[in-house]
């Protein structure tokens, strides 16, 4: 065949970009590039975009503008972050992060291909591997005292900055972000806190001493940098992460992605302290046109009648806090919570907080190139959750924030000469 589809690198970590080029096309030929992935449960995810070849018969996604399809404009990684499930409301999450990659097939068609066809074959195909752990990364199941989770270690002796990784009400252990961070030189504990092994099946309260046990476990590890650890946390995990920042001196750098700055729904307990939560007004659940539930307004009247004791005392935090906010978060008013926390820090003369707010980004801000997910099922609820966001803006937020998150942890967890 005259044309070539060149995709490099063919094997990479999932947060690394890929260059996609087509050469040898007739000038100005309209082509379709399609990406397909099957997850570990055989769910199909697909994306496509339509391009016009240059006069020289080339399409290079670094500069070519998609005319239509799942995204429009110049988006070199668009085929990856616009992957959509064939069955609505399925979310792409890698379960086995050590032994297998995601395989993504890229197909080239020399026409506009709106649908899959049994008869029309692609003119060229390439497969890429997207790994969630780098060479030499180790995975260890953790059952120490009460602590349950999975520890990821970079290759080498260290010491490495240690991070606890917290997800939200999805429960169990979500490993893919921790394994990617370990591939970037951090020791990461993907910490479960409910619906996992012998932990409670349902989350009924947040017992901060459990998380302190986890922090102490990590700090005691021979490969972990002292004197303090970081926390990366999203959604309900981010409310817990912020509470850890406030109360635990072991935590010196905390990333809170789209979380609340008040204690919501469940009581927070730490030693003698019990914080009464703010009630979630479930009657304020809204239903999106797709049928997904929009929880953003559950605490709509919150700021007018807030019990100050339910606010997390961010002024007590000794470490650094980075708030990552998706302004189009439809699950939570993330911006509102982060701004309140920042105001609270400032009014107490504390200067160790920073907010990165991303216009158009939704709730699920994940590592770069994670497919945009507008709404998906959550365990125990009969409607999908609306996460919100605009696909291209959300992808840009994931791209930018991942770099900022790693910089933040290196800056505050790795001692430098000037700190000695």
């Amino acid at each position: 065949p005259m044309f070539q589809l060149i995709v490099t690198p063919s094997t990479a970590l999932a947060d690394e970009p890929v260059t996609i080029r087509v050469t040898g096309l007739p000038p100005s030929q309209i082509v379709t590039l399609k990406a397909t992935l099957k997850d570990e449960k055989e769910n199909l995810f697909q994306s496509r975009a339509f391009y016009k070849a240059s006069e020289a018969g080339e399409v290079d996604l670094e500069w070519a503008s998609a005319l239509g399809g799942d995204y429009i404009g110049v988006h070199p990684m668009g085929l990856f972050w616009s992957l959509k499930p064939k069955t609505a409301f399925r979310r792409l999450i890698k379960k086995d992060v050590m032994n297998s990659p995601f395989y993504i097939t890229l197909d080239l068609y020399d026409s506009v291909s709106l649908n899959d066809s049994a008869t029309i074959q692609p003119k060229a195909s390439q497969m890429v591997q997207r790994w969630f752990s780098g060479p030499g990364v180790q995975r260890k199941q953790i059952r120490e005292g009460r602590v349950r989770g999975v520890l990821f270690l970079p290759p080498g002796d260290g010491p490495f900055p240690g991070i606890i990784d917290l997800f939200g009400r999805i429960g169990g252990v979500v490993e893919f972000r921790a394994s990617l961070l370990a591939s970037r030189g951090f020791v990461v504990l993907a910490l479960a806190y409910f619906a996992y092994e012998d932990l409670p099946n349902k989350l009924l309260e947040v017992d901060l001493e459990y998380f302190e046990d986890a922090a102490n476990f990590l700090l005691a590890h021979p490969k972990v940098q002292r004197p303090g650890i970081g926390v990366i946390s999203v959604s309900k995990g981010a409310e817990i992460g912020l509470a850890m920042a406030c109360y635990l001196k072991q935590v010196v750098a905390t990333v809170c992605i789209n979380g609340s700055s008040v204690v919501l729904d469940l009581p927070l307990r730490y030693k003698d302290l019990v914080v009464t939560p703010i009630r979630l007004g479930l009657e304020r659940t809204q239903v999106h046109v797709s049928g997904a539930a929009r929880f953003r307004y559950l605490t709509d009247d919150l700021w007018n009648k807030l019990n100050p004791q339910s606010m997390l005392p961010v002024e007590k935090a000794q470490g650094w806090i980075l708030f990552i906010v998706g302004e189009n978060d439809e699950c939570l008013d993330s911006r509102g919570y982060a701004e309140r926390a920042m105001q609270q820090l400032q009014s107490h003369g504390r200067s160790r907080g920073r907010m990165l707010a991303y216009p158009g980004a939704g709730h699920l801000i994940e590592p770069p190139y994670s497919p945009f997910c507008l709404a998906s099922w959550n365990p125990g609820v009969e409607r999908p959750f609306l996460w919100g966001g605009d696909p291209a803006d959300h992808a840009a937020a994931q791209d930018h924030s991942w770099g900022e998150i790693q910089k933040f942890f290196r800056q505050h967890l790795i001692p430098t000469r000037s700190k000695l």
Binding site: L67, G68, G281, E283, R284, Q286, V287, F372, R383
Partner: protein, 419 residues
Amino acid sequence: AQLTAAPLSALVDEPVHIQVTGLTPFQVVCLQASLKDEKGNLFESQAFYKANEVGEVDLERDASVGGDYVGVHPMGLLWSLKPEKLLTRLAKRDVMNSPFQVQVKVCDPYFPIKNVVPGAPKDSLTLERWYVAPGVTRIQVKEGRLRGALFLPPGEGLFPGVIDLFGSAGGLIEFRASLLASHGFAALALAYWGYDDLPPLLEKVDLEYFEEAVEFLLRHPKVLGPGVGVISVCKGAEVGLSMAVNLKNITATVLINGPNFAIGNLHVYRGQTSLPTPTNIEFTSSNALGFAEFYRTYEQTGDVDSRYCFPIEKAEGHFLFVVGEDDKALNSKAHALQATSQLTRNGKKNWTVLSYPGAGHLIEPPYSPLCCASRIPFVSPNIHWGGEVIPHAAAQEHSWKEIQSFLKKHLILDVTSQL
């Protein structure tokens, strides 16, 4: 607790007053509506209300705090109905013999948590929503080439005649014509493909077929002349505009979210042809749920090049353009603008544009639930029609009144002007 609704039985485009009494002060309740269409598809909606100090909820006065809509929307439970199966569109087939039955319930707030069974409702009732008023008659039309259904109001007449054209779904869609007849019009729901012995697929728009329809209507003893009206949506509006330009006796044309040029099919009339406009299918977009949006595909052709546009300045009657600004199937706003600019350039003032922010492609009679995406025959993938629930409902309510006024104003001339 007691749930009341008045009237219990009404036309589908008539409002209903829903109230609840007998609650405790400030009690939070859930109002739910459900409907099963003629194929057994379930549609549901819910809203949460807080009773006042005497334990009452009045949908005409009180704001919903959550659910399928928020704010004061007396008819919200009806127009926010959503299908259990995504992409199902609500459309009544048998308009004469049965209404849609809508079950309305008041119950304790129920949240979609798995394995939690909702308690029994405190009270419930059933609404009947009819597509015909008492006395409206339906006549199957099979004359010459014509295929359709004529709906006549009760009485001797004379009634202004209207031809009702739907779009890309084909077949015969009757519910709008039957409603117009319930409001005093002689309405001919006209099929033009995918029905009876008509072509299974629309190949060309043969305007002589539609001319036969105009003549048929005007011949009818109960129809007021000297002209007829046309109400048309989407592909139907493309045909409606072509009719107004080429045919005589078209006095008033309502064009809902249609193009002002030929799309996909040749238009022919007595040896003259209009070629279909070239399309750039590579400009098809996909929304976040994977539904196709076609509104950009004429961006480089029909939207900007007047060579393709119908010579609308040749039409003798009046135009009412109804535009959903959030239409994702067609760039309706641009088409209406282009058509009316062409009229203005030719010194004509025979037009009005009603443009609705937040409304989508499928602007239907009031209280019809928004269908934001569905399948149509011969087209894959699923099509995103656009529209946001609350503004779309408002657009349907407003435009329906305007459409009837417009048709009556131009079709029912007062006696003095006929001399």
